[in-house]
Symmetry: C2
Subunit: 410 residues, 2 copies
């Protein structure tokens, strides 16, 4: 008899990303020629973790209270306002005039996903996930006594498969009467796919048709990589603006990641941003997610919140941060371009890709390929049905070498 | 129809501590004469948040990776070793020779409590709590689809009520076949009560009798205030040493709070320390709690972990930290002594109290007393059946004034 509760006996973190990442790191320490494409963090061309000067400047300006005192569980109004300003950009006033909105501080984007799954599905319900995905979504679901179904992300043309998504949503509507759909865009993990504006219009329209009869619908928008979209800040905000069209029975919950946008990975700061036509939805959002936050982690990092607040409410810091973001985003785009060019040269097929931290190669024997590549000092991440290469952690020169190496072992 | 799942509709944070704390803070800003006894953080005699020089020195020595990179979900071996060294003190070698042990990094003591309730009780089960308590325990239980029962903390002599606890444990054994018992000691919140060594011996003996037949038993030891025990570090570690006597079907889970021990409240760092005679219990502890951590908050603060690791693995930092701890603990003890003396003078009855952040006065109309005291510029925390005064946030001079003020309005 286990000392664990029944549901906890099966809890086992199946992800190998962190373990393989540690092996790669250890290998690189011994041999600097090792190429480590495992880590979901941004590295500069010189191989060092990319940190924003604007972040370090702000930290140096904070007093003890701003670094060490307890934050309130939801975070301060100033933090909330700073995030609305950043996430909505030019549409801030318009969105806030047309929608109800509340913000909840969370430990990273992870906390935002955890809270949402804890509060919008009943035990036994299924969350709807893309078939290529950050596999931790499944664990969040299990932790909340839920399971999952998947929609096929791509159609035969390599575009967003709205037809399959529609079918899956109808199935779930019938079986459980409510839907939580996760959309990870732009720079989808692990493919790097980015939905077009037209695809977003189609998605919003389907969500509205499905929920017109009052079916509760939660669009959990995992926008971790939003600020690394090669199209720049505006394009993704154009998509968010479309949320104004969502009908009353829908809540969009935007999962903001301070880890990705500001490189604050290890500080654990993020947010859930609730957006709905219905005021009641937002009142309930604030109430239930505050409760869950207090009953999971108490409150979030005040240091992380104050860094974000100060950067996004001070013109000088914000301009500096934006130019640093442009610098590193350009590097990421160049890495992607180089990788794609080389992949084309050696005829290496990748999944549909635009930009972001990751690119994926379809593969039916990922562990074998992983092992073969390790022998050549290249560390990738083998997932269920793909090899994932992390562009954020390797140099442009390394991007040039990798496609040929993978191609040889596929 | 609510957009929330059924179980989430009732989620409402009933605690008024943070709200009343903010009101008190705002009042003090306008009028410096206001006495704010609401905040569970340590303030120095000059009214400033107490921060350890040793902590600030260590932060200044950390590089970007040590502050901002992702930590692994459980935290590093170095972090685990540093915590074992600090929490077990002189008994480290002995305890680790006699028990199996694993550590899981968490966001504060809160994360440790959240994980434990998520994994050791089945939905519908009850966690066993003291009748005077930090009310957030109830919310942790609800978040995991559980409820609670309470044991009567004090007997008529004002000592630990082992007889009542035994009865309650037997009831739960019968109804659910497993027990999770929370003991918050020393410096119990909100009373300041500290169990004697003999009371701990009695408790361990009861736990063993009850679980001798293999009944799974989790002793969730909330030791948030362990380093503020007026008896010093040794006395509480003598109690922990008694865990070596627990039998195979028991796991002790120690909830460590970086917030309290090191004043790192807002950084959100703590740990679950699992300790058991059974190796299987510890393997399962590490597996299930790693899964839950990844499926709730991803990973914990690397900055917090590195501060703690560096202080407890560097003789010089550790000595400096210990002397700073002695300084502020002595102040806290003086505040308690002054409060008790004054309470005796005006015949103000308190619940049994030894030391720590809080002291409580039994009261059957706490909101009325609260409102009357606000008019005299004194902000306390009204709980269900007591008035809580926070000694950690007020000066010795203020401790002298408060008993008479409360007495007048009881």
């Amino acid at each position: 008899m286990s000392i664990l509760a029944k549901h906890a006996v099966n809890k086992e973190d199946k992800s190998n990303i962190i373990t393989l990442g540690m092996e790669a790191k250890a290998a690189k320490k011994k041999n600097p020629k090792v190429i480590n494409t495992t880590i979901g963090m941004l590295y500069d061309e010189d191989g060092s973790l990319y940190t924003f000067d604007s972040v370090n400047k702000v930290i140096a300006s904070l007093n003890n209270d701003e670094k060490f005192a307890y934050a309130s569980t939801p975070g301060s109004k100033e933090y909330h306002d700073a995030l609305k300003h950043w996430v909505f950009q030019d549409y801030e006033a318009e969105i806030l005039a047309n929608m109800h909105c509340a913000v909840m501080a969370t430990p990273g984007g992870s906390g935002a996903i955890g809270n949402t799954l804890a509060n919008y599905l009943n035990p036994g319900d299924k969350v709807l996930l893309p078939n290529y995905m950050w596999s931790n979504y499944k664990q969040f679901a299990y932790e909340s006594f839920e399971s999952y179904d998947t929609y096929t992300l791509f159609n035969e043309e390599g575009n967003f498969n709205l037809d399959n998504l529609r079918l899956k949503m109808l199935e779930l509507k019938k079986s459980q009467g409510r839907i939580v759909l996760i959309i990870n865009d732009p720079c989808h993990n692990p493919t790097g796919y980015t939905m077009s504006y037209e695809e977003w219009i189609g998605l919003i329209s389907e969500i509205n048709m499905l929920s017109r009869d009052g079916t509760p619908f939660v669009l959990l928008y995992d926008m971790a990589y939003i600020d690394y979209d090669r199209r720049g800040l505006q394009a993704s905000r154009d998509n968010i603006r479309l949320f104004e069209n969502l009908n009353e029975s829908v809540i969009a919950i935007l999962a903001f990641s301070g880890s990705k946008t500001l490189g604050l990975y290890g500080l654990r700061i993020g947010a859930q941003i609730g957006l709905s036509k219905s005021e009641e939805n937002i009142i309930e959002f604030a109430r239930a997610n505050k409760f869950s936050s207090r009953a999971k982690w108490g409150s979030s990092s005040i240091l992380g919140m104050n860094i974000i607040t100060k950067i996004f409410t001070n013109k000088e810091y914000e301009e500096k941060f934006k130019s640093e973001l442009d610098y590193i985003r350009d590097i990421l785009t160049t890495r992607a371009n180089v990788f794609k060019e080389e992949a084309a040269k050696v005829n290496l097929k990748t999944l549909p890709f635009d930009s972001g931290f990751f690119i994926s190669i379809p593969c039916d024997k990922p562990m074998e390929v992983y092992n073969a590549l390790v022998k050549e000092d290249l560390y990738v991440i083998p997932l269920e049905n793909v090899i994932r290469v992390t562009l954020s952690s390797i140099s442009i020169a390394e991007c040039k070498k990798i496609p040929e190496m993978i191609k040889r072992h596929l």
